[in-house]
């Protein structure tokens, strides 16, 4: 088969002045694959994610995305118009803090419908119907459709953010600590939901997390980062059960036994 990966990253690097935030990162991401990026705070995980999702332009290397019409294209060489179009159709970004990804003052329905309207939906009833069906999919009460996210709990805001991103049927979703700041039981339910959605929709996902439990549950493949470099990558179970690099070993050993 001459299949191409959905995302091909080669020698990606990002400097902030003298600080090297991210150095020669290379990997391929295939459709339907969930890739986890783990590492301690300051290891360059979020910088990497921002470079991949074209929110930050890298100092070196390329990020190529398999577009629906034109094959693999370097994301950072696309026109801004095209980047922004990708951002609201083919891609989704789930932020750690729902405040960054939601319009807090607008109703849940408007939040979910925004992407549909951005690509030209002009029928109120259809948009609302779609928003309702997405509230069902993320297990939210239909009655909350006209409430603004600021009156929602953290877990519900995160669900809403997920619905808002998935409504445009993206192929690639970037998640930055999707369960950060949630209590354990809510986390578990959210992870369960995410796992279901990802497999149902065949999404490719890149999840940045410092929580190895999230990585274990959600991801197929894992990259361990330290000081801006990828020190180890492989299948999730393999990395977590048999870590090779000293830092990975330290990371796995640091999980608190309950």
């Amino acid at each position: 088969m001459t299949e191409l990966p959905l995302l091909r990253v080669r020698n990606l690097g990002k400097r902030f002045g003298q600080t090297l935030a991210c150095d020669s990162v290379s990997f391929d991401l295939w459709p339907g694959e969930v890739l986890g990026v783990v590492g301690e705070s300051g290891s360059g995980k979020t910088t990497l994610l921002n470079c991949l999702s074209a929110q930050l332009s890298p100092s070196a290397g390329t990020v190529e995305y398999l577009t629906r019409s034109d094959g693999l294209l370097d994301v950072h060489r696309l026109s801004e118009a095209r980047q922004r179009l990708l951002m609201r159709t083919d891609w989704g970004v789930v932020h750690q803090n729902p405040r960054d990804g939601l319009r807090m003052g607008m109703s849940a329905g408007a939040n979910v419908g925004e992407r549909l309207m951005a690509v030209g939906a002009r029928h109120y009833g259809d948009i609302r119907g779609e928003a309702l069906s997405w509230l069902d999919k993320v297990e939210m009460d239909r009655g909350r459709i006209d409430d603004p996210p600021k009156v929602f709990s953290g877990g519900m805001q995160q669900r809403l953010q997920i619905a808002r991103n998935l409504v445009s049927k993206p192929r690639l979703v970037f998640m930055d600590e999707p369960t950060g700041g949630l209590d354990v039981s809510v986390q578990a339910r959210l992870l369960d939901l995410l796992r279901g959605l990802v497999s149902d929709l065949g999404l490719a996902v890149i999840v940045v997390t410092h929580d190895l439990g999230v990585a274990r549950l959600l991801t197929h493949r894992l990259m361990v980062m330290q000081g801006g470099r990828v020190v180890e990558q492989g299948l999730t179970d393999q990395v977590l059960d048999d870590p090779q690099h000293p830092y990975s070993q330290l990371l796995v050993a640091s999980i608190l036994p309950v």
Binding site: A81, A118, A121, D146
Partner: protein, 292 residues
């Protein structure tokens, strides 16, 4: 009219139409660009005028840029020719440009307006100048000017639709009543200035040239004659104009925009045309009901 005759009519010490010639040229260049790109907000070097920002400095500058000695000027404020703002601006141009002024929509070659479009249909060759307080239609939805310009450039008007959605979800209908955004020539979203939405359909394919001036915000934009102008809406919640359940108490018109006037402190009220010229015209020579 020769130069000496014009000078004789203009207040001594002032250039024709108050502004200096270089400024007027700059304004005309801006207007040309605005006409070439309908609905696009063109920046210009707005000047200090002898009245405060918000009182029509943008409209006055546009009028000063295009007015000639043979023009006839009409100025309205909320549809009326005899309100302070309208009277002052009309007097200003009578003094500094020596032009003829009129109350009759049909007799004017330039109509400067705040908050209304005259009820009498405009014709080819007329110019209507709008005073605009906030030229950016997305200002209340997106505070960043950098971002709104990008939205216009890339035609990403989703956010506007989102606020319409929000209106319907909350009120069951689109609640905007004035300054109702329009799409000009199926490209730029434009603020029609704070005219009631009742007047929006009049902007569509109007034979007159529409110029919009915002003095404080330093923007001029335009809608050339016969340009399609569409009010934003949803397919299943189409744009609708206001209607009243009674005719004008003075002229009996059922087709014009009515003001509600409180007549005493016991709750009595009457509805009258906001366009005073149109109303007075109809009283002077009553027309058949078919005209309504």
């Amino acid at each position: 009219m020769n130069a000496a005759a014009i000078d004789a009519k203009v207040e001594a010490g002032y250039n024709f139409a108050y502004l200096d010639e270089q400024t007027k040229r700059m304004i005309r260049r801006t207007i040309l660009k605005a006409v070439a790109v309908p609905g696009y907000q063109v920046p210009f070097g707005s000047r200090e005028m002898p009245l405060p920002f918000g009182w029509g400095t943008g409209g006055i500058q546009v009028t000063a840029g295009i007015i000639g000695p043979d023009d006839t000027l009409k100025v309205i404020d909320q549809g009326a020719d005899d309100t302070t703002n309208a009277v002052s601006i009309r007097a200003f141009f009578a003094k500094t440009a020596g032009v003829a002024t009129t109350d009759h929509t049909g007799a004017a070659s330039i109509i400067q307006t705040r908050h209304r479009v005259p009820e009498t249909p405009l014709r080819e060759g007329q110019v209507i100048v709008f005073q605009v307080p906030i030229p950016e239609p997305l200002r209340m939805l997106e505070p960043s000017e950098v971002e709104t310009r990008k939205i216009h450039a890339l035609e990403e008007y989703g956010v506007l639709q989102v606020s319409l959605y929000e209106d319907i979800a909350r009120h069951g209908r689109i609640a905007w009543a004035y300054n109702y955004p329009v799409v000009v020539n199926e490209r730029y979203v434009m603020s029609p200035s704070p005219i009631p939405k009742f007047d929006n359909p009049k902007l569509n394919r109007n034979p007159a040239l529409q110029l919009y001036g915002a003095g404080r915000e330093k923007r001029i934009y335009a809608v050339p004659p016969y340009t399609p102008v569409r009010s934003v809406d949803f397919e299943d919640h189409p744009f609708k104009i206001e209607s009243w359940d009674q005719p004008c108490a003075i002229c009996g018109s059922t087709a014009s925009f009515l003001d509600e006037v409180i007549t005493d402190d016991r709750g009595s009220r009457m509805y009258v045309c906001s366009d005073t010229d149109y109303c007075a015209d109809r009283v002077a020579e009553p027309r058949s009901a078919a005209d309504d």
